[in-house]
């Protein structure tokens, strides 16, 4: 056996940065494959083919939209620079949301940290590698989404557009640096006990805030919900800096200006390196603080003097409600969905009492948000059972237990959506009825999909629920989109709603057909 090769590849000095980097990359690659293939290695090839077809399709769509724009010649005037800078800021807020979540996880997830921190290897190196891998993975995800636009632009207008990938990497590094500083700031202000929950909520809020903020401005100033209406409005363009301002250099970099891209990359690299250098020594300390919290935290509930007399089904519902209300992931996800409902709520408020068609805008957003939320709630209630043996060995039929869980979700959904529907009914009863029907259909579809694809898991696996079934994930997304579009069109009085409704039914039928048969 060669002395320069180990089971994991060529020899690299153990404990070095490169050694940790290879370890992280191996784990990240296998995790990604597992997510894509749902844990089945045989599916690797199918995943590769599917991914290739998907990316090729996106390139075709990008070509369709970009070709006329680039053929006409793209000039970096103020309006374009504002639009590009706005889009970059929007992307940055989304990236910051992801990196904040990943950095928090790096501090709190035990996995192999106990092993590494108990070894003589320097924890600073682990931190540096983990932070860099967060930046790279976020850059890779964003690059995957941006690739069709960048590649097609490079094909039509020249290879200088490929410098835009540098912008993606620079933004990923910058967002990671900001996320690390924010997390350490949270540790200092709130302590290890509260940082995880606050960071999770913050991650959800940061991702949504910029988009929602722009939409709110659009609604209040222009009466439109589109963020591009704000970017191209006189209000913004007239106040924008001059064309030669340094503030535009990220936008110029995105346009494929090599010097701007290199500058952006250098500055971001320096920012991330500085943050790692400053904070790496505190990594081990904070991880230990986080570990101490996860083992010893005491959340005290109110002292009870008796139990409530309830039916078996209601006992199940009460348990579900208590667990849903105490789930930090769900709290952050729900908060995010509620934030997305602010713009339509604002539209509703501004048109209160007026007989307008604005419910056509409100309806699809509400249906989409509730559909997504219902999917998460349904997974938690149906598949995320932490004590399956207890429930199965209880004198309640499996059907009754499942029904009670579904009732618990439906009641939560109804409580969330009712204020919107009641307010909408004051504007238009017909619109409220259509929206209510759309919401009910989307929620029922999401719950049905979770029922068909149920697989027992711990609630803490909520974040990884998509790995259980790709089909269920896509079906949930397609059904939500179909019902949202159908509801929006129905609210606008378009007959095309029927076509989308039929498409929604086809999605559900195909999903049911693809679902694993057996005991549900």
């Amino acid at each position: 056996m060669s002395s320069t090769a180990g089971v994991m590849g060529p020899h690299i000095s153990p404990g070095s940065l490169a050694w940790f980097a290879r370890h992280e990359m191996t784990l990240a690659w296998r995790r990604w494959l597992s997510i894509m293939a749902g844990g089945r290695r045989k599916k690797d090839r199918a995943v590769a083919i599917g991914l290739f077809a998907f990316v090729a399709g996106l390139h075709a769509i990008a070509y369709f939209f970009l070709e006329p724009v680039l053929a006409a010649g793209l000039t970096a005037d103020t309006t374009t620079l504002v639009a590009v800078t706005g889009t970059l800021l929007l992307s940055f807020s989304m990236m910051l949301s992801q990196t904040l979540e990943s950095v928090t996880r790096a501090f709190y997830t035990r996995d192999d940290l106990d092993l590494i921190l108990s070894s003589p290897a320097a924890s600073e190196r682990v931190f540096a590698v983990r932070v860099s891998s967060i930046a790279l993975s976020v850059a890779a995800m964003t690059a995957l989404l941006a690739a069709p636009v960048i590649n097609v632009a490079a094909y039509i207008d020249g290879p200088h557009w490929l410098w835009s990938y540098g912008v993606v990497l620079a933004m990923a590094m910058l967002s990671t640096a900001v996320a690390v500083m924010m997390t350490l700031g949270l540790f200092r202000v709130f302590g290890a006990k509260r940082t995880r929950l606050i960071a999770q909520i913050l991650a959800a809020v940061v991702g949504a805030t910029f988009l929602i903020g722009i939409q709110v401005v659009a609604i209040l100033s222009l009466g439109k919900i589109s963020r591009f209406a704000v970017f191209s409005s006189d209000m913004v363009v007239s106040r924008a800096p001059d064309l030669d301002s340094w503030l535009w250099f990220p936008a110029h970099a995105a346009f494929g200006n090599p010097w701007a891209a290199i500058t952006f990359l250098l500055l971001s690299t320096m920012a991330l390196a500085a943050v790692v250098a400053v904070s790496a020594t505190r990594f081990g300390e904070q991880v230990l603080a986080a570990a101490g919290i996860s083992r010893g935290q005491k959340v005290q509930a109110a002292i009870r003097n008796g139990f409530r007399q309830v039916s078996r089904r209601h006992a199940m519902r009460v348990k579900e409600w208590a667990l849903l209300a105490r789930d930090p992931w769900l709290v952050s996800q729900t908060l995010m969905q509620i934030l997305y409902l602010i713009p339509p709520a604002l539209i509703l408020y501004m048109n209160y009492g007026a007989n307008t068609d604005m419910h056509a805008i409100l309806a699809p957003i509400l249906v989409m948000a509730i559909g997504q939320l219902a999917g998460g709630l349904a997974w938690l209630a149906i598949s995320g059972e932490d004590a399956p043996d207890l429930v199965l060995s209880a004198p309640i039929s499996k059907g009754a237990a499942t029904t009670a869980k579904i009732e618990a979700i439906l009641i939560v959904m109804a409580a969330l959506v009712a204020p919107f529907l009641i307010a909408l009914a004051f504007v238009t009863v017909w619109g409220a009825l259509i929206t209510g029907l759309g919401v009910a259909t989307a929620a029922t579809s999401a719950i049905a999909i979770q029922l068909w694809f149920r697989s027992q898991s711990r609630r803490s696996n909520f974040r990884r629920r998509q790995t259980a079934s790709r089909t269920a994930t896509f079906a949930e997304a397609f059904s939500s989109i179909s019902w949202a579009a159908a509801t929006g069109l129905a609210a606008a009085g378009s007959g095309f709603a029927v076509v989308l409704g039929i498409f929604g039914l086809i999605v559900m039928t195909v999903t049911w057909w693809l679902a694993p048969r057996g005991d549900i």
Binding site: S294, R295, G296, Q297, K298, V299, Q300, A301, A302, I303, R304, G306, F307, R308, Q309, V310, S311, R312, H314, A315, M316, V318, K319, A322, L323, R326, D327, D386, A387, P388, D389, L390, V391, L392, S393, A394, P395, I396, S397, R459, S460
Partner: protein, 255 residues
């Protein structure tokens, strides 16, 4: 003359996965006994007990608990049964008291009686000081005791425990053993699986040895010694002899 109904009666029970896990097992356990089921890993102990608890459907065979047919009337059977798995399954975000309230609700107990019973059990198991703390910070031993309290709150007639003492410190193990012996003295039947032979030897009235999905021996320790032909031997010697005999018999059968 009325016949005494056994706490558990299993007849010709079979369950196969890729291979037979339980292979025609028959077992009768009288009321008010403490029985221990022993066997090597993969012998079929847990599979058997999961079928008794209604967590797995058998391929064939009959199971009755205190005269109630588990397959024909599972709800009635579950009403008088408690199952405690080896891995304590409690809800991290509930407190022990909330967990017990949920379990009492699932078993349809009277709320006043359930609350009294919960206080009693938490006192017995040393959980009273933590009654209103969420379980997420609990050690495995604490979680095991919460799960046990949940199993006992509805005053079952038959309690099945799968490796109940694994992961418990000496103090917690003593508390659990004391509670279980107290219940047996009150007429409750307890069946547990364990790999800790000393515990089985000291606590159980009768022992059952399962190997290759079959009951190879059953009785008091003295009866097992007779069967193994090892007078005065420890349970460990007897157990290893019985399992080895069964393996030899299977080899001969295969040959």
């Amino acid at each position: 003359m009325s016949q005494i109904v056994p706490a558990l009666n299993i007849q010709a029970l079979r369950k196969s996965f890729d291979r037979p896990a339980v292979d025609g097992l028959s077992l009768t356990i009288p009321t008010g006994e403490f029985d221990a089921l022993l066997g090597p890993n993969g012998a079929g102990k847990t599979t058997t007990l999961r079928m008794v608890a209604g967590l797995l459907a058998p391929d064939s065979g009959d199971i009755s608990i205190c005269g109630v047919d588990v397959l024909a009337d599972p709800i009635a059977a579950k009403q008088i049964l408690a199952w405690v798995p080896d891995e304590p399954m409690v809800y991290d975000k509930l407190t022990p008291l909330e967990y017990l309230e949920f379990v009492a609700g699932l078993w349809g107990m009277d709320a006043t009686r359930a609350f009294e019973r919960a206080q009693e059990l938490m006192g017995w198991l040393g959980l009273a000081a933590h009654a209103n703390e969420r379980c997420e910070g609990f050690s495995k031993g604490m979680r095991q005791k919460v799960a046990l309290a949940g199993a006992l709150i509805h005053e079952p007639k038959l309690i099945i425990l799968d490796e109940p003492l694994t992961g418990l410190d000496a103090g917690s193990a003593r508390q659990v053993k004391t509670v279980l012996r107290r219940l047996v003295s009150e007429g409750v039947t307890v069946i547990m699986t364990t790999h800790i032979l000393e515990v089985a030897e000291r606590m159980a009235d009768r022992l059952g040895v399962i190997a290759n999905g079959q009951l190879v021996a059953e009785g008091t320790l003295d009866e097992l010694r007779d069967k193994a032909g090892q007078d005065g031997s420890s349970l460990e010697d007897v157990f290893l002899q019985l399992v080895a005999d069964d393996a030899d018999a299977n080899k001969e059968l295969a040959a």
